[in-house]
Amino acid sequence: MNMIRAFRRLFRSSDATAAVETAVCLPIYLVLTLGVTDVGTGMFVGMTVNAATQAGAAYAVIHYPNSGVCASMTAACLSGIQQAMNDATGNPSFCTGSVCTATFTACSDPNGGICFAVSANVPVSPILPSATYTWATALNYSFTTTVRVPTT
């Protein structure tokens, strides 16, 4: 009986109303703030990845002609591409691990040729729980720049 009375009093009481309402609304604000932060971080990583792959592809094209180091996909060529990607991001360890990859294959488009496909795949750890972003396909930011050189 005391329990019921105590609940009734609690329900009628207007003490600490602000605190209670803040406690209810705070998660909304937090989700909003942290969500914006996560989106911004994602965009930054996305730009970095894009710039890195583009720099890597530019390196490959410049070093393809005249039997250059990237005339075929050698270890030296890959190393040069990764160095260019590190330089483009300003992060000397950007390509650490298997973040940066490059392939050297025949192009699929009607003009033929050889395509350098330079990819970077960077995982991000959001502040909000990963489950929040299940609507997004993945929490990896990846981009592939494809540049074509005609076969000589």
Binding site: S14, T17, A18, E21, T22, V24, C25, I28, L32, G35, V36, V39, G40, M43, G46, M47, N50, A51, T53, Q54, A57, A58, V61, I62, H63, Y64, P65, N66, G68, D109, N111, G113, F143, T144, T145, T146, V147, R148, V149, P150, T152
Partner: protein, 615 residues
Amino acid sequence: MHTLIRLRSCCAGAVAVTTAIVLPVLLGFVSLGTEVGHWYLAQRVMQGSADAAALSAASQWIADQNAGNTSSTTYQQVGVNYASYNGGFVIPTANVCLIPVSGADNCGTVRSLDARPIVCTSPPCVVVEITQNTAQWLTTNISMEPTSNQFGIQSIAAIAPILKERATVSMSQSTQTVTTNGADCILSLANATNSVTVEGGGDLVARCGVAIDGGLDQNPAIPVIGGITFNGSGAKAEVASLTIAGNYTESAECNTNAQHCYQWNATQSPPAGLGSTTVLPAADFLANTATADPYAATVAAMFQTGGIGVPPQGVASVTLNQAGSGYTPGTRIFQLQSTGNTTAPAKVVVTVNNAGHVTAIVGVFDPGVYTNVPGAAVAATDITNGTTNPGSGANFKLTEGCFTFPGITVGSVAWTPIPGRKYCSIFNHGQQHINFPTGNYYIAGGDSNCIGLCQSGNNAVMTSDVVGVTFFLTNGEGSGTHGVNSYAQVSIQSGTVNFCSPGTNCGTTCSNSTTTSCMLMIQNPAAPGGPPTTVKQYDNIVNGNGTNTLAGLVYLPKQTFNTVGTSSIGGCFGVIAYYVDIGGTPEFSNGCLPGNGIGSTTTTTTSFTPPVLYQ
């Protein structure tokens, strides 16, 4: 009513109400911030897409240029495709254009889309322009951003930028010119089937190529019929290659009646190449291949006014005007007083009587070099023995004209040829040996004994200094038989000649350092010409019973070069003539021709550096 009043005065739930009011605004600005961030990301992706497209398009353009498809526009298609492939979520449409090294570009659309000037400091450049109107994203996507008239904020759609990204790739062009020296030493210019003729048992031995142009480089409209004719089953050509401008087959040219064309063989004993049994390989028989006369313009300029082939004025003869007095008796050499228009005053050999008066003229010793031979009488000084001797008062009247080559003496005074003078002819006959000091010799028009450079007599010998001589064969003066219409020719009928042109050092190579380097006998291209006939009026003959040596170029663009009999000509020797008529066993080689020789090729290649992005 009571409820409404209580609600108004109730302070409970204030935060919830505030949140309810503020949240839409908050969400709007969060969306706006995200949207603006998205623009930057899109811009970055577009830039990457443009860069990749420009690199791909430039690579394609370079490949097209190298393959000769200079006007191909495949690069534009490649650029558009690869902009799309690299667009990520943006999927841009690209405009691709080219800034060429010279001439108009095709970047009108790019400029109309993006007013920024196109920077291409080192053309050619490929430019890729990608534009995106972000306002379209706002209007087409479900958006929570504030739109028009909400909260008094100007429409975001109005401030949504049109993103413009441009990539410019430079492919700095460079041009290399590679000149390959010619491998030919005989070029005949006549468009006749007997342009080159090998007579009887003649053997044309050439450690170099023989070219027959048939006038193709002078008049490309004519049907080219120039070829080689072998008169007699024993006639042979032992050559490194045979190049004919006309449409010939080796069998038609070389195998008529008998096999005539053999490959020059270095291992044959002297005269090298004689007796080769290797049939000229098909690879060394080049038909439908024109060979330009590489010296036509150079030599034509030499005989223009002021050119090096134009002879100076000189003294043809002198008459005694004043006998003077006080001279040493005997046969004396007098040098004429130097006037303003001479760089080398003439010298005459005179007879001085015992009274010290000049009594007779023996002959001109040096015709001198004049821009204008003076008409008034000219005083003279006795310079016999190289010193100034006593005597005064004698003077002479001069007649301008060519100088008759005196041989080895003028009267009793020993004489050697003087370079840089205008000769009527140079005729070495009899038993004498004449050596020509280094320099240019002008032979103008000829005279009754010899038209040009002649030699007869089995023991007659003409040689030159090792530093080299050049003979310019040109026309005379006046309307006489040997006047302006008479052009000097070469007629070495017997004896031996041993001439070297400047730069050859009488060896097998030539250094091109002066205008006349490697030029031995140069005939004025204005000379008349025609096919060789029995009269042989246009034949330039090099016969002789010794082993002749000619080092350098013999240039007879209108006339015939003829060598018959048992003569052999060695040395590093090349001929350009209208017709070439071979009877003996002359040996030709091409190491000492001017410039890059006969049949040289100049190829200009254009190359491009790998595409480089402008930052």
